[in-house]
Symmetry: C2
Subunit: 234 residues, 2 copies
C-alpha cells in the first residue's frame, strides 16, 4: 500500500510535477465551480493531489496566487484586432472582456480586492491597459482625451471601477518596480499618458490626476448622453 508517493493513487508513474501555471489553473477552476469563498490553499492542493505546503514552492502566498489568477483571466481576453477603426476595436475588446467576466463571475470581486492591496496592477493588467490605450491613440485621440476616455469607460474596461492607479506613491517604494526606461519600453502608451498627466499640473502634489474632476467628467458625459436620448436627438 505504501508506494513511492504518499499522495498519488498509483505509485507507478512519477506524477507530472507542479508548476505555477498548474497551480493557477487549478485555482481558477476551483473558483469557477465554487466561487472565491470556496477557494483555499488546502482545497487547491487536494485538487492537485498534493500536500498544501507544496503550493508554496510555486506561489509566495495566497495574495500572489490571486494576482496570478487575475493574470490568467486577463490572458483570456482576445488581443486587439488591428484592422478596424478604433470604435469597433474597443467594442470587440470590451465585449471579449465581458465574456471572460461572465465565465468567471468571481473575478470582479477578486480584482477589486487585489487592486486595493497593490500599489501597481500586475504586468498582464498593465499590458492590457497599454494596448487598450494604443487603440485609442491610433484612432486619433489626444493623450488627454484618452485619459478622460479611460475614466469614462470605468468599470467597462474590466470588472474594476475607477482609481486604477489611485496613488502609486504611498508606503514603501515597491521592491519590484520597473526602471523608467524599461517601463517606457514595455508600456509605451501608459508611459506617454502618465508623463502628459504629470506635466499637465506639476504643482499639484497628489496623484497627478484630479480624480474628482475625472469622475464628474464621466458622469456628465453619461448624463448628457441620456438627455440626448430622452429628447430623441440622437
Amino acid at each position: 500500500m505504501v508506494g513511492i508517493t504518499t499522495q498519488a493513487g498509483s505509485a507507478t508513474q512519477p506524477r507530472t510535477p507542479l508548476s505555477k501555471v498548474r497551480v493557477l489553473d487549478a485555482a481558477v477552476a476551483l473558483a469557477d465551480e465554487g466561487g472565491v469563498d470556496a477557494l483555499s490553499m488546502r482545497k487547491i492542493a487536494q485538487a492537485l493531489d498534493v500536500v498544501p505546503m507544496a503550493l508554496y514552492k510555486h506561489v509566495a502566498n495566497k495574495n500572489e496566487l490571486l494576482d496570478g489568477m487575475i493574470d490568467v483571466l486577463v490572458g483570456e481576453i482576445d488581443p486587439p484586432a488591428g484592422d478596424t477603426d478604433w470604435k469597433t476595436a474597443v467594442r470587440r475588446r470590451v465585449l471579449s472582456a465581458r465574456r471572460m467576466l461572465l465565465r468567471h463571475p468571481w473575478a470582479p470581486e477578486v480584482i477589486e480586492s487585489r487592486i486595493k492591496a497593490r500599489s501597481t496592477p500586475t504586468p498582464a493588467v498593465m499590458a492590457y491597459l497599454d494596448s487598450m490605450i494604443g487603440i485609442f491613440r491610433a484612432g486619433g485621440f489626444s493623450v488627454d482625451l484618452v485619459h478622460h476616455a479611460l475614466h469614462v469607460m470605468g468599470s467597462r474596461l474590466l470588472g474594476f471601477s475607477q482609481e486604477l492607479f489611485q496613488d502609486s506613491s504611498d508606503g514603501e517604494p515597491d521592491p519590484d518596480a520597473l526602471a523608467p526606461e524599461e517601463m517606457a519600453a514595455r508600456y509605451p502608451h501608459i508611459t506617454e499618458l502618465a508623463m502628459a498627466v504629470a506635466h499637465d499640473q506639476e504643482s499639484v502634489v497628489g496623484s497627478g490626476c484630479d480624480d474628482q474632476f475625472e469622475f464628474e467628467f464621466a458622469l456628465d458625459l453619461t448624463l448628457d448622453g441620456l438627455e440626448r436620448l430622452r429628447l430623441g436627438t440622437r
Copy 2:
C-alpha cells in the same frame, strides 16, 4: 478584582447594552481604519468590550453583519433633492454616493461580494434604487429609458457593477421575500419597471432583461459620447 462583569474595566456602572446599530457602527469604524480584511467578529467584540459570541444575539452571522454595514453606508447617502431638474438631482445624488464611497474605501468590495451571495439587495439598497428611479421618472423618462439609464450608469450609481438583479429566480425562493402588493407599496418605481420589463418580452424565459443588450447599449452610448468629444462636436 472580580467585579460584576468580566469584561468592563470598572464594575460600577452597568455598561450601555449592545444593540444591532452599536454592533454595526463598531464594525464600520473598524473597517474604516483597518480595511475589511482586518474585520473579524472577535475584533468587533473586543472593540465593544464584550465576548465574541455576544454579537450573535444581534446579528445572525458575519454575512448578515456585512449586509447591515452596507445599509449603514447607504443611509449616509444624501436623500434626493426634490426641487430641481432630474439631471442635477441625479448628479447630486451620485456625487453624494461617491463621497460616501471615498469615506469607506472598502465598501465596493463588500458590496460586490454581498450582491453575489444574495438573491435580492437589502431593503436600504432597494429604497435607494427606488428613489433614484423616481428621479428619472419625474424627469420625464419613460420606463424603458429608465431601465436603460440604470444600466448605463452602472457602477456610478453605487460602487457595484452591472447585473444588480441578475437572476432573482434561482435556487430556493428566498424566505424573506416580500409579497407582491407590499413590494409595490414600498418600492413603487422598482415594481413599475420590473413589470414593464417582464411584459416587454414574456416569451423570453430568462431574467426578463437582456443583459447583453443592455451592456452593449450602455457601451455604445459611451463610445458615441467619446466620438463626439473627439470630433469636437459637443
